[in-house]
């Protein structure tokens, strides 16, 4: 240590001059008082202060005299939580004769807690008057910052691992984050606001008031009324207004909002998506204006970032949910469509099989049928010849010749039916009266004795657009079918009526009806429940009606009486629909 660096009061050259002593002591005291810390001296065993610098009074508010007069001042004014360990720690240091440093809390005269870092120098301790000397430095500010940092970290950690954030539940996250931030920063009102698409309105999505522990939402702010605030936000500025009522960015709210609510300080952290500002997280402090510490700003920026994230997760979750929903809707639709197509295919396939059957049967039987006509023709000729020569004395001969004629005709009408299938003739339509047609079909029906027929139409004549020969055959086949089913007296009712673009013809008898399990089969070629009949009458009906662009169905009813419904298109428009199915 060179001479130039030695303070005057330590200059040994003048140490023996008594006139200098008081001056030196004064200089030393001035120096000790200037230290930003309490310089002290105390008994090594009892910790009773023998000296403290002036700073002690300023720092803790107790008069210096109290420090030195009370034997256990230090112990008595330690924070209760620190008293035991701090005392023990010091004793241990003294026992080992080691210098030491430690931090503890003391209670100031005004009740405030003051954090002190005590640097203790331990002199020789083997003498009874051994002393400790040291400096207590106020580290409260650092300690508070550390505490805040710990609180902030804890809060951010809690938010980061919250369920609501992970789920993308923006509402749930908002409640949690607003409450957490309000508690952590000691802010009365916390809220999150989002811009509308045009950025002309900020809508308060969620608001939390700490003193009442109340959540609400729904307020709106219009850009037109708060241009400064909106433009500052749009620029992405982080607004920290210690005095919100005068701050140029926030004073637009002073009269209408801040004063009535007693808000003094505001901290607004922008929310972003990419480069865009999408909203703001607002901290509104009630009470004496406060200074927003840098770490508090950082905390609120971090919270705002979490809000960005929560919103994004929610957005993605919604998008995913929408996509999933759309996908499942599509799947359902697809499944329905598939079912519909399959059903349609099934139907078409059945029809095709029936039509193919009909046409194959037709081709096979046609040649047989034709060949049968030749022997029938010979029989018929022979009968005719014999009937001309039958003597009147032999009535039985005449009767039997009559039976032969009937049966030849019956056989021939079967052949007509069989041949009809192969003809597949396109209908040659004209306007025909259904009443006359029904009557003439009925008149030609075989074995219809005892059967009555009734035709009900809204007017007469009731004209339909159809091939007369073919439609007559449809009616004749239905009548034959009914006559055979009733097998005796009965009644047939044929009704015709206009509908929007078609004519509905219903055909009812009072026979036994069609058992429901057979309904799907009655139009199958060669299907018959009777010993009599070719099983071709109804398939021919269907073939003819469909060639007309119409449909024929048998009604599902388990009671007695069969009921067929024929739908015939009104106009020739139906023809196109069936083009190409005539073969």
């Amino acid at each position: 240590m060179g001479a130039g660096s030695t303070p005057r009061f330590m200059d040994r050259r003048n140490v023996d001059k008594p006139e200098n002593l008081q001056r030196r002591v004064t200089e030393l005291e001035q120096l000790l008082d200037a230290v930003d810390g309490i310089v002290w001296e105390a008994d090594a065993r009892t910790s009773r202060f023998s000296y403290v610098s002036r700073k002690a009074e300023r720092l803790l508010g107790y008069p210096i005299e109290l420090w030195t007069s009370e034997p256990t001042f230090w112990q008595d004014h330690l924070h209760p939580e620190d008293r035991e360990w701090a005392t023990n720690y010091r004793c241990a240091g003294v026992d080992r004769g080691r210098d030491h440093e430690f931090e503890y809390r003391m209670i100031a005269a005004d009740g405030q807690i003051v954090w002190l870092r005590d640097h203790v120098s331990v002199g020789p301790v083997d003498q009874p008057d051994a002393v400790l000397r040291g400096v207590m430095v106020d580290v409260s500010a650092r300690r508070e910052a550390e505490d805040r940092f710990a609180r902030h970290s804890q809060a951010l950690f809690a938010l980061a691992r919250s369920e609501a954030l992970a789920r993308g539940d923006f509402a749930g996250f908002s409640r949690l984050a607003l409450e957490t931030a309000a508690r952590t920063l000691g802010v009365e009102r916390m809220s999150v606001w989002l811009f509308n698409d045009e950025r002309t309105v900020l809508q308060c999505r969620y608001l939390y008031e700490k003193s009442t522990d109340r959540h609400s939402s729904g307020i709106e702010l219009e850009a037109a009324r708060y241009p400064h605030y909106f433009s500052a936000l749009s620029e992405g500025l982080f607004l920290a207004a210690d005095d919100a009522q005068t701050d140029p960015n926030t004073n637009e709210f002073t009269e209408g909002y801040l004063k009535p609510l007693g808000i003094t300080s505001m901290l607004d952290a922008p929310m972003r998506r990419g480069d865009d500002v999408i909203g703001v997280v607002c901290h509104e402090h009630v009470g004496p204006p406060r200074h927003w510490m840098p770490d508090e700003r950082e905390f609120s920026a971090a919270v705002a970032h979490f809000f960005d994230h929560a919103l994004e997760v929610e957005r993605r979750r919604d998008a995913e949910a929408n996509a999933r929903e759309a996908q499942s809707r599509l799947l359902v639709q697809e499944r329905r469509e598939t079912q519909r197509v399959e059903a349609e295919l099934e139907r078409v396939r059945d029809r095709l099989v029936q039509q193919t059957q009909l046409s194959t049967i037709g081709q096979t039987v046609a040649s047989i049928a034709h060949e049968l006509r030749n022997p029938l023709a010979v029989i018929q000729n022979a009968r005719f010849y014999l009937s001309r020569r039958t003597p009147e004395t032999e009535p039985k001969w005449a009767e039997y010749l009559g039976i032969i004629e009937q049966e030849v005709n019956a056989a021939d009408s079967i052949i007509v039916d069989l041949l009809e299938i192969t003809r597949a003739k396109d209908p040659s339509r004209q306007e025909i009266d259904i009443v006359q047609l029904a009557r003439s079909a009925f008149d030609r029906a075989v074995g219809a004795e005892g059967v009555r027929i009734e035709v009900q139409v809204p007017r007469e004549p009731f004209l339909v657009h159809a091939d007369p020969t073919q439609l007559r055959q449809v009616l004749r086949n239905l009548i034959t079918n009914s006559v055979q089913a009733m097998d005796g007296p009965g009644k047939i009712v044929i009704k015709a009526d206009d509908h929007q673009d078609h004519v509905l013809i219903t055909f009812e008898d009072d026979g036994p009806g069609v058992p429901s399990e057979l309904i799907d089969r009655v139009f199958e070629p060669l299907f018959t429940t009777r010993a009599k009949g070719t099983g071709l009458g109804l398939p021919i009906c269907r073939q003819i009606v469909e060639r007309h662009g119409g449909s024929i169905e048998v009604d599902r009813s388990d009671g007695p009486g069969a009921r067929f419904t024929i739908r015939l298109p009104d106009s020739p428009g139906g023809e196109q629909a069936t083009e190409g199915t005539g073969e």
Binding site: R373, N374, V378, Q380, N381, F384
Partner: protein, 118 residues
């Protein structure tokens, strides 16, 4: 009074026999032929008032036979008969002079009615 002469043409023997008997009973002088070719040949040498002709036969069919007979200048009234669907032929041959088309089995009363008008 001269008996009216009629030629029955059919490849089925029983058909020819029964028709011949019916018509003979009705007072016709009946000849028969079992094919179209035979019919054409017969008509060359013998005049007929009417010809009753089956359509489908081995060799030339009834339509062709009818045309050849016509080409020979034979004036007989020709009635066609068929067990088959011959709708497509009816219009055309009626124009050429066929009197009627009858479907087998024949309605004999109708046949006699037609011949009565001959």
């Amino acid at each position: 009074m001269n008996k009216r002469r009629i030629l029955v043409v059919d490849d089925e023997r029983n058909m020819r026999t029964t028709l011949a008997d019916i018509l003979t009973d009705e007072g016709f002088e009946v000849s028969t032929a079992e094919s179209g070719e035979k019919a054409v040949k017969i008509c060359k040498h013998k005049p007929f008032d009417a010809v009753l002709m089956d359509v489908r036969m081995p060799g030339i069919d009834g339509i062709e036979a009818f045309r050849r007979i016509r080409r020979q200048g034979h004036e007989a009234r020709v009635i066609m008969m068929s067990a088959y669907s011959v709708e497509h032929l009816i219009e055309e041959t009626l124009e050429e002079g066929v009197v009627a088309f009858l479907r087998k089995p024949l309605d004999a009363a109708r046949l006699l009615e037609l011949l009565g008008n001959t």
